[in-house]
């Protein structure tokens, strides 16, 4: 049995005459923390809205747990929960009532008090259960949103920029919560973000989207490998070093920064390149291999 629990094929949405998302082919496997990465306006929320049946796609299909979203919507969404864009609630009702309402829509009956309180406990809101959501801060609403998503023991949770608008402490808490969900409860998490380092820290697989189009998809490890061989030289003088590197066939993608040079070099040539620089009387302070996806992400999202 294939363990792809979310598959989109050629998914696209056109508004007036421009595409907010186009040809989105996602494959999310059971157990993944799937990072959906892209700058603001890339089409992340639009894709998530289509997957959760809030908007009708212009093209393509969505399959959840093997069920077609358009023909078998109820089965497809039975084990899915999530937050789209910012978490919104019935502000005039308490956190507890909001939990009851959300839960009853999935269960077909009002969820048990014990279950609700346990779930609120996980996100640290049990003490505020009876307070109106109107009085909650953004961070509390975000956590309530996660609690609501967790309430009916879903197998897949879709979180749209869950750390948006949170302070560093809040971001850390949400990240830890996501990690706990996957390790302790075995929930598959689909997480969108415009911050690469956030995805990099928690995701096992990811897709990058920009201007409505998907650029790449794969395991974070593979993508890191594909993007390996970047080396950062902290050295002086910059101009002379750049000229030398530029003259070498084994070096490419040279970029000068304030205090050094970034270049793409196959690791086996690194010693000889260092030698050449030393011979040319460059002062080398450090040489670091760069594995971060940051540059890759920036490169991919700015070039197109």
């Amino acid at each position: 049995m294939s363990d792809i629990i979310l598959r989109t094929t050629d998914l696209g949405k056109q508004y007036k005459n421009r595409w907010a998302a186009q040809a989105i082919d996602l494959e999310v496997h059971r157990g993944d923390v799937f990072g959906f990465l892209g700058p603001n306006g890339a089409g992340k929320s639009t894709s998530i809205r289509m997957i959760l049946s809030l908007i009708t796609p212009t093209t393509g299909r969505v399959e959840l747990f093997g069920y077609d979203l358009f023909n078998r919507r109820e089965q497809a969404l039975q084990n899915v929960a999530g937050i789209v864009e910012k978490p919104d609630f019935y502000l005039y009702l308490s956190a507890y009532r909001n939990m009851q309402i959300a839960g009853s829509l999935t269960l077909g009956k009002t969820p048990a008090e014990k279950k609700i309180m346990e779930t609120l406990e996980i996100v640290g809101l049990a003490g505020r259960a009876r307070d109106k959501v109107k009085t909650f801060s953004h961070g509390m609403k975000q956590r309530l949103g996660i609690a609501q998503a967790l309430l009916c023991d879903p197998q897949l949770i879709m979180l749209d920029e869950p750390t948006n608008g949170l302070d560093p402490q809040g971001m850390k808490e949400v990240r830890e919560l996501i990690q706990r969900l996957t390790t302790e409860k075995g929930i598959t998490v689909f997480l969108s973000s415009h911050l690469l380092n956030e995805v990099e820290q928690v995701a096992t697989r990811m897709a990058i989207i920009n201007k409505g189009k998907m650029i790449v998809q794969g395991s974070v490890e593979e993508l890191l490998k594909a993007n390996a061989n970047k080396v950062f030289f902290k050295l002086l003088p910059l101009k002379r070093a750049a000229l030398i590197l530029d003259s070498l066939k084994t070096v490419s993608a040279i970029e000068m920064t304030d205090d050094g040079i970034m270049a793409k070099i196959d690791p086996k040539y690194v010693p000889s390149v260092i030698n050449k620089l030393v011979n040319a009387k460059c002062k080398i302070f450090s040489v670091e291999p760069k594995h971060s996806l940051e540059d890759y992400f920036l490169e991919k999202t700015t070039e197109s």
């Binding site: 049946s53 809030l54 109820e74 497809a76 009702l93 009532r97 309402i101 959300a102 077909g108 009002t110």
Partner: protein, 279 residues
């Protein structure tokens, strides 16, 4: 489904705006009665003095039943606003507050969610009319006492004996609820494609006013559409005070109102099922 309806009712009755209608009638009805207590007594007595000598009328002529009927006559154009206030918010309110993103991603079909909202709205509509009924009959009989009801209409004057009146009033309020269902359906319909809370109220009232004008235009060219407009039938409750009942007219109006409600419900469902949730 019952659970869905329960929570729609819970939401509806947890909102402050739902009580504006109840508060409005709870304030208006005593005021109307107070004015009638001071003014109306004189006015009606003069008219009826002459009658009293010609017919056999038992009890007080200016009584609670009369007052309740006057109130109904006065309110049936204003109550739609109070209904639109709540019904118009049912879909538009959730769109505006972003809570559709919370409910419509769950494994419940939009048809069921809409129907639950519909039923909750109809229950609110009925509850508002019931409160009007209890207030005007209860307070009216307490302040003005009881007696026979003199009903005026195009054909003249009918005297309805007190023994019939409770049934007749219940029938009148039931017909009023039935016609207010059309107003609720219209407001929900507009609520399905408008994304703010004020729009549906204003639009509903505008539609009602325009239709009412058409319904009352003494012009040949609009005669043929009049029977189809719900506003032509909205005063069907007045038929409860005819003696004998004109069943043809009552059935005809009730059917026209029902068809109107059904069409608005169908149109709302059609739009709601296709609606892109962008808020």
């Amino acid at each position: 489904m019952l659970n869905l309806i329960y929570w729609e009712l819970f939401k509806t009755y947890s909102k402050w705006r739902t009580y504006i209608g109840f508060i409005a009638v709870a304030v208006l009805i005593p005021i109307i009665m107070w004015i009638m207590w001071i003014e109306g007594g004189k006015f009606i007595s003069y008219q009826l003095k002459t009658l009293q000598s010609e017919f056999l009328i038992t009890g007080n002529l200016f009584n609670g039943w009369v007052v309740a009927q006057v109130i109904m006559n006065g309110l049936w154009v204003h109550v739609p606003t109070l209904i639109a206030l709540v019904a118009g918010d049912q879909l538009a309110g959730e769109a505006t507050s972003g809570t559709f993103r919370l409910t419509l991603i769950r494994p419940v079909s939009r048809t069921r969610i809409l129907n639950a909202k519909y039923i909750a709205t109809l229950i609110y509509t009925a509850s508002l009319v019931i409160v009007i009924a209890l207030l005007s009959l209860g307070l009216g009989r307490w302040i003005f006492g009881t007696g026979d009801l003199i009903a005026f209409d195009k054909d003249g004057i009918t005297i309805l004996p007190e023994s019939d009146l409770l049934i007749r009033f219940m029938f009148a309020y039931a017909l009023a609820v039935w016609s207010m269902f059309v107003v609720a359906s219209l407001a929900l319909f507009i609520s399905s494609f408008v994304e703010n809370a004020i729009g549906p109220i204003i639009t509903t009232m505008t539609v009602i006013v325009i239709f009412l004008i058409i319904s009352n235009l003494p012009v040949e060219s609009v005669e043929s559409i009049k029977p189809w407009l719900f506003t032509t039938h909205m005063n069907v409750w007045q038929q409860a005070f005819r003696d004998p009942y004109d069943w043809d007219k009552i059935w005809n109006s009730a059917a026209a109102l029902g068809i109107n409600s059904f069409i608005f419900w169908g149109a709302t469902l059609w739009i709601f099922k296709r609606k892109d949730i962008l808020t």
